[in-house]
Symmetry: C2
């Protein structure tokens, strides 16, 4: 006889269970798509079942890939559930890719069904000859008169109408892949990441627990009204639509990001969103919004760093902002810059300091700052290294790329490529990307951080720091500077050097972070998108300034 | 090549991960034991490691059983973590069992180490000759001069002091058993239930998400102050100590339940507790507390039904109360009677109606009301049946009892033995225990519910309803009644019969719930603990009143 009989029901963590309460808890709460469409959770639940019947009729089986090209919509939400719930895989296509890159991802993922908004017809026409696996296309006319030039299975709404709302979603192993999408680096082809049912369920539950148990400054509970402002193709809009659906809150899907965002925000009294800094800047920086009341709005900022200036500007409008951090590879939630108890009493300046940090790991996220040998570094801004991660919801590799997968997971930790330190409060602060970091004497020095400090020196208008090859140390930092006034270049540079030494004494940077050379130039070269062209600067250094 | 490389770290849901943030998020927050002891989370973290070293030194290995006999204390909390984290199993002994029953559970569980509060020395002395597997006893002197009469390995604090606070808790399969304890029914030996790391982690996370995302009337977030008033031996005090520790809140462990409870409650400004109705009644019903301010206190009531009267009395003192439901077999959380958005605006009467329901299933809890054939019943108070459950955290059987395990899990659903209906809002309401239910014509009728309705009839002072054997229907309800006035027995009973017919018309009960007979008696027989003795009533019926 077994000591511990194991005769219970084997409950798997499946996405379908996120919908278990939807029909009973708040069936009449509403979900809105722009000013075009509204329905209840009870309706949504039915349409998820209809969609599964539709996809099944079109030949979708377990493990098949269903790809979506749409703006943020209730339709996308339906696919978030129906596709993985039937055992198929949802491929959320990045609609900002070039046609060549997009075609690559469609063929590489082996997409069987495409669901495409009418606006993307030019993309389909450009790609369709190259499709290797696509069998059917469903188009979305979005309430307008439209029929596509390409051959299609039909229009989304028309097709849904014909289906039954009865579908028996099967049980299966929680490690079944549920979603995939492609992340684009600076070089090479896009790489596919993938997440299982278990991973997305645990991500949803932990995100929910994190945001509702620590309510300041940007918490989330069932009394909130939710509108995503991060594209739904991008890591499931940070998993927030799953979380919002579990809680049964009012949800607003804005469609294409345009002037309607602000209108929807006010009309529906949205209380919670998430976006990149650019979107927040567009909203609070627009003179037309100056008289509007955003004081009930909480916003989590990710994608790139929330600057103190933007945080201050948003807070002066009454918006509660904080940073969230994660990558496509991490599902994405790793950290939130939410308040520990007591911080809600901080001065505005100190609160800004907290919310602009990269954040504190949420439950089940293990993060370390490591050096090149993989050794964990001590706390404090002097000790910068790469962030590596373990959580239950990280991609277990890149689709069909064994070598890249091994590289990502070197030493059993997922390597983020982000350079950071961990402060005394336990919050992380990203200072750089790994590829821009300077490696000197086995230590890593953030070029961005030195630039930030040099920019505080008197009479220095612009600065760029690169790693110059060095026989003894591997690399040494070198600063290119543009002066605010002409003449006295030597004095300005050596005064700045003194200023940096003070930062060393204050413990802000390590002494090996002080550049060996200050090179005065007329201008700093920029790339086509306005970023400092460090590649070119390294070349200039080698050719003109190297010893 | 594998399509989906699986080279990531295999993150298991282990109890040790509930402590991952403890040393960094709020290391200086405090945990208190009565007025005797206080320490920080950082201290607690160290002592969990010391305890693991101590137990290892005493010979504890993976799978071994460590049993605790203590009041609610910080020491118990340390065992909640250290024992399962090292791969051993924590047996939380019910200190209210008789020595014979307790000895049975200690031998049946194969306890290797006992950790015993000095107050339980008489129990140890009574049992020790019967110990079959116990190898070592650690005693707790609780800060007083004490040495036991039995042979012991040493005193808890003294032993801990000698240990290192460095212990490398291993990784292992999340399905490893973490805890066990014994549930006592009305008949037979106590039965052991058991829970894995995965189950307790998912229970903690879901409880946290449920209580913090739905904050009314009794939510919980990281700003709360926690004091359990359910014994820690009983289903991990409903898992709340795990949840409170994850959030890093101030925690108060009251030790033995006595007059100090109220003192601690006020001194530490406790905001959240959970207990059985009796404890709440003792606190709010005590004239000595009438002037005290309980208005920041939230209490979840479980174990038995929260009456409307007690709810009203607590609410009149400003206490936020609601029901929580679960069994020893269910880890325990199944439902909470928390508010849907909008209900916080209800009248007091309507709020009392909500919080005294058994509750709404939390996420990942599937509950059905089924008839004897296992068929799900429709919604509404007319349709009573047994509650059956599926969630990821149910015991997979009873320790070493294959048959009882199969019975518990008949048809793949855990049978709770509780009789209930589900209302139109989706909340469950327990009306009876299965063993007291009347089965008539394939339908189940709650004896408690008929009793409650009959007690509203004029001139009826006491009532007890039993199921009488019936050839046609299996059973038929029969009411024993004690009249408030003598004479006119016939008239009183037939008036009551008419009243019940009105309840049928109003849809409150089914027509087959009306008793076939009203039998007027002088008194209703009671058991030694004051409950109606239905067993005796059934015997009296068979001998005196059966046709």
């Amino acid at each position: 006889m077994e000591k511990y009989p194991n005769v219970g029901y084997d409950f798997q963590l499946l996405i379908k269970h996120l919908l278990d309460r939807v029909n009973d808890w708040r069936p009449n709460e509403t979900i809105h798509y722009r000013d075009k469409f509204s329905y209840t959770y009870a309706d949504m639940y039915k349409r998820v079942h209809k969609l599964a019947n539709l996809l099944k009729r079109l030949g979708v089986e377990k493990g098949d890939m269903v790809a979506v090209m749409d703006y943020d919509s209730h339709r996308y939400l339906e696919h978030y559930f129906a596709v993985p719930m039937m055992g198929a895989i949802l491929h959320t296509i990045n609609i900002r890719l070039s046609p060549e890159q997009m075609l690559y991802t469609i063929n590489h993922a082996e997409d069987k069904i495409l669901v495409v908004h009418k606006d993307f017809e030019p993309l389909i026409n450009a790609m369709k000859k190259g499709f290797e696996t696509v069998e059917k296309i469903i188009y979305i006319s979005d309430g307008e008169e439209y029929s596509p030039q390409y051959e299609a299975a039909g229009e989304y709404e028309e097709l849904l109408k014909q289906e039954s709302d009865d579908f028996d979603f099967p049980d299966f192993d929680e490690n079944t892949i549920a979603t995939t999408f492609y992340t684009t680096g600076t070089t090479g082809d896009p790489k596919g990441v993938y997440f299982s049912h278990r991973q997305l369920v645990l991500h949803t539950l932990t995100e929910m627990a994190a945001l509702s148990s620590a309510p300041y400054p940007a918490g989330f509970n069932q009394h909130d009204v939710y509108m995503p402002l991060t594209p739904m193709f991008h890591v499931h809009a940070w998993g927030m639509p799953y979380m919002a659906t579990v809680m049964g809150v009012k949800q607003i899907y804005p469609g294409r990001y345009d002037e309607m965002i602000v209108k929807l925000l006010l009309q529906h009294k949205v209380t919670f969103s998430h976006c990149v800094p650019t979107i927040l800047q567009m909203i609070v920086g627009n003179p037309a919004t100056e008289q509007l009341d955003f004081s009930n709005w909480k916003v989590v900022i990710g994608g790139s760093a929330l600057s103190k200036g933007l945080a201050q500007k948003a807070m002066s409008r009454g918006i509660k902002v904080m940073t969230g951090y994660g990558l496509s590879e991490t599902a994405p939630l790793l950290t939130l810059a939410n308040f520990k108890p007591g911080m809600e009493e901080f001065s505005e300046k100190d609160q800004i300091d907290v919310v602009t940090r990269t954040g504190f790991p949420v439950l089940f996220v293990q993060l370390k700052v490591v050096n090149e040998k993989g050794e964990e570094l001590p706390r404090g801004s002097k000790y910068v290294g790469e962030i590596v991660a373990r959580t239950p919801w990280l991609t277990n590799g890149y689709f069909k790329l064994e070598d890249k997968s091994q590289e990502l997971w070197k030493d059993g930790w997922l390597h983020t490529g982000d350079i950071a330190y961990r402060d005394e409060d336990g919050y992380f602060k990203i200072t750089d990307r790994l590829k821009d970091v300077i490696k000197t004497g086995g230590e890593w020095v953030s070029s961005l951080e030195i630039e930030s400090l040099i920019s505080q020196c008197e009479s220095i208008a612009q600065v760029a720091v690169i790693g110059a090859p060095d026989e003894t140390w591997g690399e040494r930092p070198v600063a290119f500077v543009v002066h605010g006034k002409k003449n006295a270049a030597e004095e300005i540079n050596s005064a700045c050097n003194e200023t940096l030494k003070q930062f060393v004494e204050q413990g802000k940077i390590a002494k090996w972070a002080i550049p060996d050379k200050f090179i005065t130039v007329e201008e700093i070269p920029k790339t086509s998108v306005g970023k400092i062209d460090k590649k070119l600067l390294r070349k200039i250094y080698r050719e003109k300034y190297a010893d």
